[in-house]
Amino acid sequence: MRRSISLVAVLATALALAACSSSSDTPAADPTTEAAADGGSLTIWVDETRKPAVEAAATAFEEETGTTVELVLKNFDDIRADFLAQVPTGEGPDITVGAHDWLGEMTSNGVVAPIELGDIAADFEPVSIEAFTQDGQVYGLPYAVENIALIRNTALAPQAPATWDDAVATGKAAGKTYPILVQMGDEGDPYTMYPLQTSFGAPVFVQNEDGSYAPELALGGEPGTAFSQWLAAQGAAKVLDPAITYDIAVAAFAAGESPYIVGGPWMLDSFPGLDLAIDPIPSAGGQPAQPFVGVAGFYVNAKSENGLLANDFLVNFMSSEDAQLALYEAGDRPPALIAAADTASADPITAGFRAVGADAVPMPSIPEMGSVWSFWGVTEAGIVSGAQEPVAAWTKMVADIQGALDAS
């Protein structure tokens, strides 16, 4: 029996069509008509810590509006790049969690839409709204404010130190292995070192009157070199040490090997059983030691087809005290909503971090910031380890950052 190719092909195609006929109508159907029947659907990217809290708010939203909320669990570190890559393809989520310092990149790539908070803007900590503001527009709904402070083991140091030298002196007097723990690592940690740098009056960029940053470097000059010399001196005195990484610092503090550690609320889980107090970071250069504030929030996809739902969910549900408190319990960072932060401040630790955060400065979100990190930390580590001559290294770093800024 002989048959032609065409007959066989028709047979195969017919089988194929039969096999996929049940599933084939899904992509063809118009998603909007389907969604409208049940109050629409909303896709949100969340990370592991935040998921249960957002889930709770989403359930409330679902119950009240009939909308289906789909939470997609993402690794926090992947969200930034994935969101940038997927929004232009139309595949991105309607809402994503994110950090405020992504803002410059998000807006210059046109992937986020402004959110009009209206009157509720006044209910948030000013620094949190400021952090999500660019050119007068607010691009995110903040939910948490995080910053570092001086965590003190009250058993070893009953009093808050007034200055850095005071802290080192009392730390040495406590007779433990380390007078004070500041994480650094071979690559340096400019985020943790920043309050000490600002205490010399050397912020990274020039700050405008409204709190935003201008892409003009301010970490050089006299204050910058004074800071670099101080770094070298602390390195020589073995107070600062590039060998101290985050893990080592946290483990040492937890073991009671130092009365002080400079760190954030994310460390607290590692210190069970210690009686802690949160103090402002002691000034080393005479001026106030201002750490960076990081604000976590939600961004709305600029190409979202569910813009209305997304804004409704954020502005009218995630801004509630309950939702913000749920996020606080999940992530331990002081909430951005003032009412929720007041409630959370019943815990002295949270109140301590919040008090330090009140005097802090937002981490720059301008795209130029990316060029700074990679030079900043290694230079600090090099100076502390004694491998580099402080003033020359610092001056070269400023020139290199300027070169990178000019090139991009």
Binding site: A16, G110, P114, D312, S371
Partner: protein, 550 residues
Amino acid sequence: MSSPLLPQMHDPVVALPPETPRSRRAARRVLRDADGGHATNFSRGFVVKLLLLAMIDALGVYVVMAAWGQGSFGILWSMVGLLVGANYVYFSKRALPMKYILPGLSFLLVYQIFVILFTGFVAFTNYGDGHNSTKADAIEALLIQNERRVEGSDAYPLTVLADGDELAFAIVTSDGDVRVGRAEAPLETIDEAEVDDDVVTAVPGYEVLGRQAILARQSDVTDLRVPVSSDPADGSIRTQDARSGYVFISTMHYDETTDSMTDALTGTVYTPNDDGQFESADGATLAVGWRVLVGFDNFVKAFGDPRYSTPFLKVFAWTVAFAALSVVTTFLLGLFLAMVFNDERVKGRKIYRTLMILPYAIPGFLAALLWSGMLNTKFGFVNQILLGGAEIPWLTDPWLAKLAVLGVNLWLGFPYMFLICTGALQSIPGDVLEAAKIDGAGGIRTWKSVTMPLLLIATAPLLISSFAFNFNNFTLIYMLTGGGPRFADASVPLGHTDILISMVYSISGVDGNAAKDYGLASALSIVIFVIVGTISAIAFRQTRKLEEIN
């Protein structure tokens, strides 16, 4: 037509004398007719084939339909092409060799050729930060970023109304007045409207839309702008959540006919430039740009930046040295161990062999991270326990860091070489070695003249691929040293252990430490591809000499 590709035919083909290609074809035709051909009867094999292909077709048709739904026509047509090709090959009588190579070929096309071509394409664009999407997206993004709420204006409770198909907004002012307007008709006060607790519940002539109805048309609702008055400068009402409305004003206007952006406040006109950005007459550009083809700009940029020229040579030299030394050290250690454990006099060989493979079983990135911890100057296991508290800067001294990288790669890589050498050693026929013995060759002479050449025939291609792999061994460098310690004399964030691929990662900003530039990254990847490809091609040519021994 090479024989390995042909299936095991029936005996007659063997019996046929070697003839000219033409008569061979004729012979095969005869043969096919004799057994009825391979696609033309309903044997069990044919039914299985039909079912398998039907499943593949089903999957393919599903992909085609999904691609149609998403508007991805590139995927759609490639899939159609693959499907038609597959069906032709497996049902035709003329494409016998293709039946064997088509699966591999399609995967090669999808996972290799396409990726290379796409990378090549991106290398000629300016895809990266600020040029993330299409021009239409950029215009839309600029427009939404520059539509802002009029400062100090009120927030109004808002209700969405419909008059037939047309949408309208009703707002309640602070005086309690209800004002209604639509896209073409500015707001006007309506006295007959009913208001309940600041929310409009009924307006004569309009239907108040419920939430479901609003959601069904949510993009129409968010796109609707209701002018506050007949003067456009007063702005317009819009809503983002269908609950409250604000007065917004656009400060940027796009004119399609002239393809230009105009700033309403300053009157500056921005026109598209060759870099995919809107540019004003005085050179100021708007933040959001789009992807355009930039020709060889990325290649010029890669080699034209003086900040990179000195470190590039150092990085290149280290990359070649690292890849070559990694191959040599792992191969020698692997070979030595393979020969030791190939000797029957060694007791417990199986246990040793299993232990030897352990480093190979640990994921590379994990092992590199572990080692970076163990090599920490002050707290690392190596310094603390093995060297009794010595503070050797394994990862922070330029030369020691290089040594550490090679050492860790040796630890990671020797089991692989051990495995292939064991296999190759065991496949060397005993009679050859025996013949050497009879000819009076000693152990070293046998090893040099018989074992090694036979071993190299089997392993040389693997050594070349190992070289190519290590040339791009990003994981190890990134996880172990991060490229550090930094060059003290360079003005770019590169270090003594950076290899080309980690340099690309760093200078194209993919690591987040600079503005991302996928175009530049792709251009440099193509350059690396050419380098690796050339070295491998030359090396493969050299290994042909080895085969002549056979």
